[in-house]
Symmetry: D3
Subunit: 140 residues, 6 copies
Amino acid sequence: MSGGVPAAPAAGAQAEADRVAEFTAFRKRMNERILGEDNQVVRRFFALDTQTYKPGALDLRTKEMLGLVASMVLRCDDCISYHVAQCKEAGVTREEMFEVFSVGLVVGGSIVIPHLRRAVDFLDRLEGGEASAPAGHDHG
Amino acid sequence: MSGGVPAAPAAGAQAEADRVAEFTAFRKRMNERILGEDNQVVRRFFALDTQTYKPGALDLRTKEMLGLVASMVLRCDDCISYHVAQCKEAGVTREEMFEVFSVGLVVGGSIVIPHLRRAVDFLDRLEGGEASAPAGHDHG
Amino acid sequence: MSGGVPAAPAAGAQAEADRVAEFTAFRKRMNERILGEDNQVVRRFFALDTQTYKPGALDLRTKEMLGLVASMVLRCDDCISYHVAQCKEAGVTREEMFEVFSVGLVVGGSIVIPHLRRAVDFLDRLEGGEASAPAGHDHG
Amino acid sequence: MSGGVPAAPAAGAQAEADRVAEFTAFRKRMNERILGEDNQVVRRFFALDTQTYKPGALDLRTKEMLGLVASMVLRCDDCISYHVAQCKEAGVTREEMFEVFSVGLVVGGSIVIPHLRRAVDFLDRLEGGEASAPAGHDHG
Amino acid sequence: MSGGVPAAPAAGAQAEADRVAEFTAFRKRMNERILGEDNQVVRRFFALDTQTYKPGALDLRTKEMLGLVASMVLRCDDCISYHVAQCKEAGVTREEMFEVFSVGLVVGGSIVIPHLRRAVDFLDRLEGGEASAPAGHDHG
Amino acid sequence: MSGGVPAAPAAGAQAEADRVAEFTAFRKRMNERILGEDNQVVRRFFALDTQTYKPGALDLRTKEMLGLVASMVLRCDDCISYHVAQCKEAGVTREEMFEVFSVGLVVGGSIVIPHLRRAVDFLDRLEGGEASAPAGHDHG
């Protein structure tokens, strides 16, 4: 179901993998730093963000796809990567992921294209084992 | 599953029903007017918009929920009403609809609240038979 | 401190006053309707929204001005009117309000101008006693 | 060059014409009210906004088309109507206007469609003599 | 017509030139990867995006300036760089480019300034021969 | 008042400090380059941007906090860093800064979280002496 064009072995794949690992560590460190601050509104917002994606009337898969398309039309690369990883973890196939992308692209317009390129690159890396999903909900 | 507060019989319910009918007629008339224009890019965009929501790897229900949450975080009332109607038509329950709203609200923030109010009002009217879904895909 | 041009006695001032009263009733009714729904994420978001503007390290006045400028650059008329009313209630003067507007205008650009016009019109009505602030926090 | 579907004689055309006239009066009145206020940043912003569209290296026509497409992707109806009127005044043809619309639609996505419908409706009214361009630059 | 301040010979000009070349390669590779995927909506969107900028009632120059200002107010660096390059290719002068920038800045506000800095930097590099336009339409 | 979790001594703190210094130099160089261009609208916009934050009816502190929350909901990292530095310079405490962040987060939603992480990281660096405020107003 994946495309016919194989992902070219990226020049700098190692550098990119390092960059992803560095970002994951940064996200984890800063989330702890933020939650360590004595601001109850911010803490509650983070708790609410986690609760939002728990299975309910809609299952996790659907909720993560909703989070992905919302991140895409709002054009936030970190959020897109995060939800791409969560979607894959939840069993969303590449073909389904591209249908989510297509809704995001048509609703949000060509301004979404640069983010789509980075989303597909990230998905390729996930599938190639170069990147990994965060353990548990990690706030975009 | 619906809330305990019954929708107050709206003062001006008839006026509102008229307003919805008027908007539906306006949308239909202007879509024809736009498609009657000799601009191929615009026409193709409208065709592509219709194609986007056709069932594929994802079913219609899921795609309409994706369209709804995207419209919500981008804060477009007409688009929200449209996808609420399409979701209901596709069998999305009120409880599921509120979970879509919750994702939109948390991703998009309190700036989404005025649109949420209008979305719930529109959903109430749909359920009360005062408003109806457009026949077929009708471009938001 | 207000401008030299008096607000022209609006044709349809009564109609406009009615429209504001109608909107206030709609907001109240829909907020109850939304909170009556059994969706915990949405309810918690509303509670968090209320908590956000409680005095803390920053006083109410400052927080309401922050809410106002954020609403302005995000261009949400309902939110702007709401925070204009809350600011006035908290003692923000007209001159100060215009400085908030000036930050919103310069950061957000000329696309903010139509919202500025409606904000000033609403402020004029508030000062003229035609519109009033909601009793307590009422979610934009 | 216009489309084959004639604009249906709108039910409520008179009501709509009244609404346009009322808006034009509101814009004029509020602009005066805003400029009458003793806030130099706001006044200078308005002056700068006027200066922006003066012919320079680019002619008025081109600048107004730039203002139109920017208003369209930012989805501000008042700004769109304003620049549609200015474009027509500057000699932009209906066919050219639709090409501006097509760029706005493709860059900004389907979320632009409701604004496109209102833009075309406004253009139809302008061409039918029901609406008119403001006299001179009038800040969106 | 260019400004009096010469572009300081950038520390790291080579590094920056490498970065631009790397981005161009990334864009090309990912576009192929995306178009290689079996998703017709995405493919058609890319085709439509290309078609949008073909000369019609408006010439290429004007259409590229429209794409540039739209990208600027939506604040997408990749899209801005792309259209700056296409504009230059189409014969838009530096003076005209700055008038496009001025419309984007006034409509979009000071939030556009960081993107303006990067746009001017990119334009400087283009004029200095350090960066180059993509061969043919390449989707932002 | 700061959180209990000490900022981990960042791997690459030196690299990051270099990156901040490089960005500050870039901003300064490009601002000069832009102001050196013969475009009066752009120059006047920059002058107006500076004037906006001068103390008036509201003091500098309040105006910088307004600039910060506006930058946060519009999600511009450069602008956020700039106003964080200006706020600190104007005496805004860390606890107050987090209350500004909380308003930005609740109004703007979870899409703001990645920017919040970078804002807190930047604030940590400022407090640790690794980054510094620009000398005088420097346009985001």
